[in-house]
């Protein structure tokens, strides 16, 4: 096709007169005065400081390195909530207004405005370096331009689904419920991470979650395990039952589902052969023996973590454990379907393989006294855990069929066979209550074919203590959870057998001074029929092993040993760690173990120097 313009035709001689019509037209030049920008305009930034959490994701995506995170004193800074007192500042000498910072922002706090003119004589604004706040660069409150919408959002808000056993299948036996991620799922889940590090800050033991997530994303499981072992020798356990403070702080969780950090850790630990994990765990172990001896009382996560650190620092470590196997509450408190004992054993085996001397079935205070330990060892760590169940002490609670949850869980984990009545009531609303209810429900299913389990919690569902997923899964398994019920007395039949539990409706739990003082509606009374009542209202430490003399010598704080910031008690040779000072939670226990190990190592090396 060729042009149809006849360029040879010079046109009429009067043709130039056509130009007269231009006199009637508006000039094409822009009128003087402000020209409002389009609704989507990508002008100067604004940042809603209330929404912004200082995660620095905008800084990471900025293709011109125009964004710096500035520390703003006075802003909230709470690692556990996932908030930092940093806010992005923009160097407009580098910014290209592409708006990627807006598209990727996990909170949606940052936006571009329709403001695009910057002329200013004030010296403080005579700079390209500007800290955007909600009012805009010149405090002129320009309307927003390019901001976050569903379409331009670059983040993936949905977690990879985790394969689980169906409720009908899992109530029949104790098999682990969660299947774990496949390679592909783990890679996709890991790719959701923006590497903000909120998880690292929130974790009690400061796990390097961004690093191991990135390693998983790179397909390098070995590196991931290495990153995990920097801070946590209980990773098989934490990958399954951690309370995951990291996920609560995850910036992706601000508008979507947080990255499944716990499941990713589990994936990495399960994906690598145990021999390789062992090799990684042994990395950095001191070849020099310090000649110092440390006794650790209790082979739970806190004690074993301290043992792990101290043995790597070259000290000789002996762990005293009253029971048959190590693991403490993770073995004798957490049911198999949540944490199979084989997984726990892998963690324990690795720590023991480094050369820790284990003395099982050795009860301190009975088989060996604290005084002997003080004499024979340079330092002693008490990692006693919370082994005693608290009682409600309501009338009838001394009946033989009124049991403590921790005691039952320990017996079941140790392999004792237990006859469970067809109707059981659990008092309590925490995770332990869920554990014992679900464990006994499984036994009921095996022994009677049906589940007859009721949980009476003091709290209402709006303030429930147990994890929401525990509550959901319990419901799926046929367990009835009744909220806001306070136990009054256990009903004992005339023939001496247990008849059930009588409860009142709870009106409030705390008084105005936030002290525990439950109020009940006495007109709303219910009898829950039961052949067994299980009390799961909290645990305490069995400090009987200390002996009177030591108990007297120690300083106490409301029933717990008083320790300094490093876990050291008021006696120079004695440290305490784990649930007995800081509990109850695996990952806090691990953090505690590290803390006392560091403190002991410092103490011992200083002693040598002196």
């Amino acid at each position: 096709m060729s042009s149809d313009i006849d360029y040879k035709d010079a046109g009429s001689i009067l043709a130039p007169l056509k130009n007269l019509r231009f006199f009637a037209r508006e000039p094409v030049t822009e009128p003087l005065g402000p020209r409002p920008a389009a609704e989507n305009y990508r002008g100067f930034h604004v940042n809603d400081w209330e929404l912004c959490i200082g995660c620095s994701t905008c800084q990471k995506v900025c293709d011109n390195a125009a964004i710096s995170m500035i520390h703003i004193p006075g802003l909230p800074n709470d690692p556990v909530k996932g908030v930092r007192d940093h806010r992005p500042a923009i160097d407009y000498g580098r910014c290209c207004w592409c708006g990627l910072c807006v598209d990727i922002c996990p909170t949606g706090s940052i936006s571009l405005t329709r403001e695009y003119v910057h002329t200013c004589t004030e010296p403080e604004l005579d700079s390209y370096f500007v800290l955007p706040d909600p009012n805009g660069m010149h405090k002129t409150h320009f309307p927003k331009g390019w901001s976050k919408t569903e379409q331009n959002d670059l983040l993936d808000h949905d977690r990879q689904p985790m394969a689980e056993m169906a409720p009908e299948a899992r109530i029949g036996d104790f098999a682990e419920i969660v299947a774990g991620y496949t390679d592909q799922q783990a890679l996709l889940e890991a790719s959701r991470c923006v590497q903000c590090g909120m998880c690292h800050d929130a974790c009690p033991t400061q796990m390097h979650a961004p690093d191991y997530i990135r390693a998983i994303w790179q397909g390098n499981v070995e590196l991931a395990v290495e990153e995990i072992y920097r801070t946590n020798p209980f990773a098989h356990v934490c990958g399954r039952v951690c309370t995951h403070k990291c996920e609560d702080a995850c910036s992706i969780g601000r508008r979507g589902t947080p990255v499944a950090i716990r499941w990713l850790k589990r994936y990495a630990m399960d994906a690598l052969a145990p021999a390789k994990v062992k090799k990684i765990a042994a990395k950095g172990k001191s070849r020099k023996k310090s000649g110092r001896k440390i006794a650790i009382v209790g082979a739970g996560p806190a004690g074993m973590t301290a043992a792990f650190d101290l043995i790597k620092q070259g000290h000789a470590v002996t762990v005293f454990e009253a029971l048959d196997q190590a693991g403490g509450m993770t073995r004798y408190g957490i049911p198999y379907y949540r944490l199979p004992s084989e997984s726990l054993q892998r963690d324990i085996d690795i720590i023991v393989s480094l050369g820790v001397e284990m003395r099982y079935r050795t009860r301190v205070g009975v088989d060996v006294s604290m005084a002997e330990l003080e004499q024979e060892y340079d330092a002693v760590v008490l990692a006693l855990g919370l082994q005693l169940g608290r009682s409600t002490r309501i009338p009838g609670s001394d009946h033989v069929q009124v049991r403590a949850a921790v005691d039952l869980l320990r017996r079941i984990a140790a392999g004792e066979s237990l006859a469970v009545p067809d109707k059981v009531v659990v008092i309590g609303g925490g995770n332990v209550a869920m554990d014992i209810a679900r464990t006994l429900a499984r036994l009921q299913k095996q022994q009677h074919g049906v589940v007859g389990m009721t949980v009476c919690a003091l709290e209402d569902f709006a303030h429930f203590l147990a994890d929401p997923e525990e509550v959901r899964e319990s419901g799926e398994e046929g367990i009835e959870i009744i909220d806001a019920r306070g136990p009054r007395h256990c009903v004992v039949n005339d023939d001496g057998t247990l008849g059930g539990l009588c409860t009142w409706k709870v009106l409030s739990i705390f008084d105005e001074q936030h002290r525990f003082a439950p109020k009940f509606d006495e007109s709303d009374e219910r009898i829950h029929e039961a052949g067994m009542v299980v009390e799961s209202i909290g645990q305490m430490t069995d400090t009987g092993l200390l002996g009177d003399e030591l108990t007297e010598a120690l300083e106490w704080n409301r029933g717990r040993m008083k320790v300094d910031a490093f876990g050291r008690t008021s006696l120079p040779w004695l440290w305490a760690a784990g649930d007995c000072v800081n509990g109850p939670d695996v990952v806090h226990a691990v953090a505690d173990g590290h803390r006392v190990a560091t403190s002991i190592n410092e103490y011992l090396t200083q002693e040598v120097a002196a």
């Binding site: 096709m1 060729s2 042009s3 313009i5 360029y7 035709d9 010079a10 046109g11 043709a15 056509k18 094409v28 030049t29 920008a37 389009a38 609704e39 989507n40 305009y41 990508r42 994701t57 990471k60 995506v61 293709d63 011109n64 290209c96 207004w97 592409c98 708006g99 990627l100 598209d103 990727i104 571009l112 331009g145 390019w146 919408t149 379409q151 331009n152 670059l154 983040l155 993936d156 996709l188 890991a190 790719s191 959701r192 991470c193 923006v194 590497q195 990135r214 994303w217």
Partner: protein, 380 residues
Amino acid sequence: MRPENYQAQSHPPSHEYELNFGPNHPGIEGNYALQVRLHGDTVVSAHADGGYLHRGFEKLMEGRLWIQNIALVPRICVPDPVPMEVCYSLAIEDISGLQVPERAKWLRVLQLELSRIAAHLFYFGGHAATTGMYSPSFWGVADRDLILDRFEELSGGRVYHIFNIPGGVRRDIPEGFLGRVSALLDYLEARLPEYDDLLFRNQVFVRRSKGVGVIDQQQALAWGVTGPNLRATGLGFDVRRDDPYLIYNQLDFEIPTEDSGCCWARTLVRRSELQQSIRICRQVIAALPDIGGPVRAPIPNPLAWNVPVGESYTRVESSKGELAYYVLSTGGEKPYRVHVRGPSAMHAVQVLEKMVTGGRLEDVAQIMFSLDACPPEVDR
């Protein structure tokens, strides 16, 4: 101004002399230079001297995440940025097997054609100015601005739209956008006869440009000439029709050609293309309301995006000729190599040097502008 590394050379007595045509010269396009050797007014030889705009785009891209490069690529050709964004995105989509939603494809075509119109309007102004006519410059820039207004509305940026990303486009069109584009097209179409009167029927322009800077089809093919410059030699090759991408195979348009291969023919081809682009835009505007669905395929988190191992050579038809991206991924979060096969690198170096040789000094600027070379894209 001389380049810093300039060294005067002593020559044997001669009637020839050397002239630095650019980089600061009203007759040069952007920051670019030609060193021409003259005998009187006749160009004896010419040496293209680029590099004044070199920012190392291709190297820069290797150090940036896949997504970050979308802010970089439009800068490679400022007057016609959309083909850069689209071509880069197409290459990544090709490697990673991303399926672009239908609506995004149509939206991309709309942008591509609007960008072509804007670039051609800009081109008329530049070309006319080299023959001493400045009104077309003002008209072209003013009318191009109206297109930029629509781009601002669509993407938030007037010049660097940064609107196409791998997977589709960043957002859907605003409310009433198609109506406003439609009105703009009506206006532009009504303006075309006025451009004809001003430029194409103007004997000053016709006589200055006709028969100047001639290139025949064989030479053009041998030198790697593409796009409107090739079509001005009578060969109707257009990537949109002959190797269709996006949804061009569903559109009805023609490929304008001219036979004479001179400056005049090159301008005329572009003038006719304006009409075709308007035609394509109208088809998109008519079709878009019936094409629903998302405007972007889901892409991984841009901070952890490994494009799979692979390479892609993807080409599109830009306003200046055939534009291609060669992207090589080794499976990392950044490209291993990005090579831009821009049309201007051929047109402004090898072709221009040969075309001006033997011509007259006053035509050098015109020839360069008629080729529509874009210096930032030459230097990359």
